[in-house]
């Protein structure tokens, strides 16, 4: 099985977010970009499938500027991906998921994969647009919110679940699909030290993409005002506290269902 997994370098979880001068985007100065979140699950899922279907290989692809994109690809190689392609894109284009998908699609056509795995959304913009745009560009079906993805060899089809508001859906897909993964079976593995060292020397194919014209851009990036401490509710009886709280949630906070 030829599996492609698409990943995006995102700021690591502990990053202290800062607004860049000009106020339009976050300040990437000193920020460490890593493979994280749903993308990490996607790589894990790709490796699990590779291990369960003999003769399979995993091709990891990422679009973005250097050096962060190259570093994230090396992390994926250290985890066990067989080959890697870096689609070089300037930061602004890479931050538009549709533009990123347009840049990546041509890199996946030869040979056409049996499965394209992505995280359901990136840890920074959380747009969830990349994988579905990629599906449309490749002309194959795409599904997000996927959990429990399996390959059913007897039926030569992928099976998976999608938890939705209406309930849990179960799907069967006999051909190539693009999956926006929500959860892999297990905790993502940690790369072993010898593989980390080997990944530094691994070859990475590089494609320089001409970015598609941007369809949207960030105008403002804002951090919420810092919290100042709770407004404590004064009450006489538990029922009184309950009534006050419900009223506050409905009328003041406007979060009552």
């Amino acid at each position: 099985m030829q599996i492609v997994v698409c990943v995006k370098p995102v700021p690591e979880a502990e990053t202290r977010l800062r607004v860049a001068t000009g106020g339009a985007t976050f300040d990437p100065e000193g920020v460490k970009f890593v493979l994280a979140g749903y993308d990490e699950s996607a790589v894990e899922q790709a490796l699990l499938l590779k291990e369960s279907v003999p003769g399979s290989s995993v091709h990891v692809v990422s679009a973005g500027p250097g050096p962060r994109t190259e570093e994230v690809l090396r992390s994926a190689i250290a985890l066990g991906c067989d080959r890697a392609t870096w689609v070089e894109l300037p930061g602004e284009a890479a931050s538009d998921p549709i533009a990123a998908a347009r840049a990546v699609a041509p890199a996946l056509e030869n040979p056409p994969p049996d499965l394209v795995l992505c995280g359901k959304q990136a840890g920074d913009d959380e747009a969830g647009l990349f994988f579905s745009a990629l599906g449309e560009l490749l002309g194959v079906p795409s599904f997000g919110f996927v959990v429990d993805l399996r390959w059913d060899a007897a039926r030569t089809a992928f099976t998976f679940q999608r938890p939705t508001e209406a309930g849990a859906e179960r799907w069967e897909a006999p051909g190539t699909v693009v999956v926006g993964l929500q959860q892999a079976w297990n905790d993502p593995r940690t790369a072993k030290l010898p593989n980390i060292l080997k990944s530094r020397r691994a070859p990475i194919a590089k494609v320089v993409a001409t970015p598609a014209p941007a369809t949207n851009r960030s105008e403002a990036f804002a951090l919420p005002p810092p919290r100042t401490g709770a407004r404590m509710i004064d009450y006489k009886t538990p029922e009184d506290a309950a009534q006050q709280l419900v009223r506050i949630l409905r009328e003041d906070a406007k979060v009552f269902p």
Partner: protein, 327 residues
């Protein structure tokens, strides 16, 4: 940016328009500034839904009862067709699982700008702008959508639903559209309706109720679950609870568990250790209930109740059920 019309994508649920669609209609009404409102419904039962949509101010409903709309790929084909017919320049929908999955496809197919998880939409001087949370809710960005067309998926429960008004919609069936064979091959083989007992998943819930060590015993944790059920909320737990084995680790909210950013987070009997805080601090509204007035949780909460949770929580559950008419 040309001011073409707004097309609302209505989602079908059990043969009716999903309640969340009314949120999209409300936003569409504002954006279209009095212009006639169109909607598109796809799938079996869309005809029945069309009549409902008329009651919320939609004047033209395009529909197709062809099978396969549960697949985002097929749905995107149908919606692109409807958008052409309606002469729309903006497509609006609520970002449910179904809705979100088709936005990227539609944006490519229909050559439009796209945004998801949107909590604010404005149009001024012909420029469409959206606001949305990013970085797990720790920040917000404002994006400007350029080009002639836009597809916008709203964050669920971020907008008030449209109120009812008198009106009927003209219903217009869409001609069958050719969906390429590769897009038609996946099949949904089962749909297990969400049971009353199971709430939404932590990851996507807009309300989360979490319990901590303060509940004292695993049996008492049902107080948390009852409160959650009354709000239609997901249930979470602090690490102390999952480490003690009272609930599985999938319930754990925190640094080594999961991070959530719902609209409302209720922390019951949770002291507020930093490892827990980082997992929920970006929730829009935080309510804390704890017997210890100096518990650190009160520093990050918006509203606090100091008291005995064994008295406060049942009273709160009862009041919520009363107000929501849950009996």
């Amino acid at each position: 940016m040309s001011a073409g019309g707004v097309l609302v994508v209505a989602e079908l649920r059990d043969g009716h328009a999903a309640p969340a669609t009314r949120e999209a209609i409300a936003v569409a009404r504002e954006l279209s500034g009095g212009e006639p409102l169109s909607a598109v419904v796809l799938g079996t039962g869309s005809a029945a839904a069309a009549t409902e949509l008329g009651r919320f101010g939609v004047t033209r409903v395009l529909l197709s009862e062809a099978a396969g709309a549960e697949s985002p790929a097929s749905a995107a084909v149908g919606i692109a067709q409807a958008a052409e017919r309606a002469g729309a320049s903006t497509v609006l929908l609520v970002g449910s699982s179904w809705g979100r999955d088709l936005v990227g496809r539609l944006a490519v197919r229909w050559n439009a700008a796209a945004a998801t998880g949107v909590t604010e939409v404005t149009r001024s001087d012909g420029v469409l702008r959206v606001r949305r949370p990013v970085f797990g809710g720790r920040a917000t960005e404002t994006r400007r959508l350029d080009g002639a067309r836009a597809v916008i998926a709203l964050r669920p429960h971020a907008f008030a639903p449209a109120s009812e008004s008198v009106g009927t919609a003209a219903v217009e069936p869409l001609p069958d559209v050719e969906v390429p064979a590769p897009l038609r091959t996946p099949k949904r083989v089962a749909l297990e309706a969400a049971s009353a007992g199971s709430g939404p998943s932590l990851a996507d819930a807009s309300i989360v109720v979490s319990g901590g060590r303060g509940v004292r015993t695993p049996e008492n944790f049902r107080l948390i679950e009852e409160l959650a059920a009354s709000l239609g909320a997901a249930v979470g737990a602090s690490r102390a609870v999952t480490d003690a084995g009272w609930r599985p680790t999938s319930f754990q909210v925190g640094q080594t568990g999961r991070a959530v950013s719902p609209q409302l987070y209720v922390a019951v009997g949770i002291s507020g250790a930093i490892q827990h805080i980082v997992g929920m601090v970006s929730s829009r509204v935080i309510v804390a209930i704890n017997s210890d007035a100096s518990a650190p949780i009160f520093k990050v909460a918006d509203y606090g109740v100091v008291g005995d949770l064994f008295q406060i929580v049942p009273a709160l559950t009862q009041e919520i059920r009363r107000v929501r008419g849950l009996g």
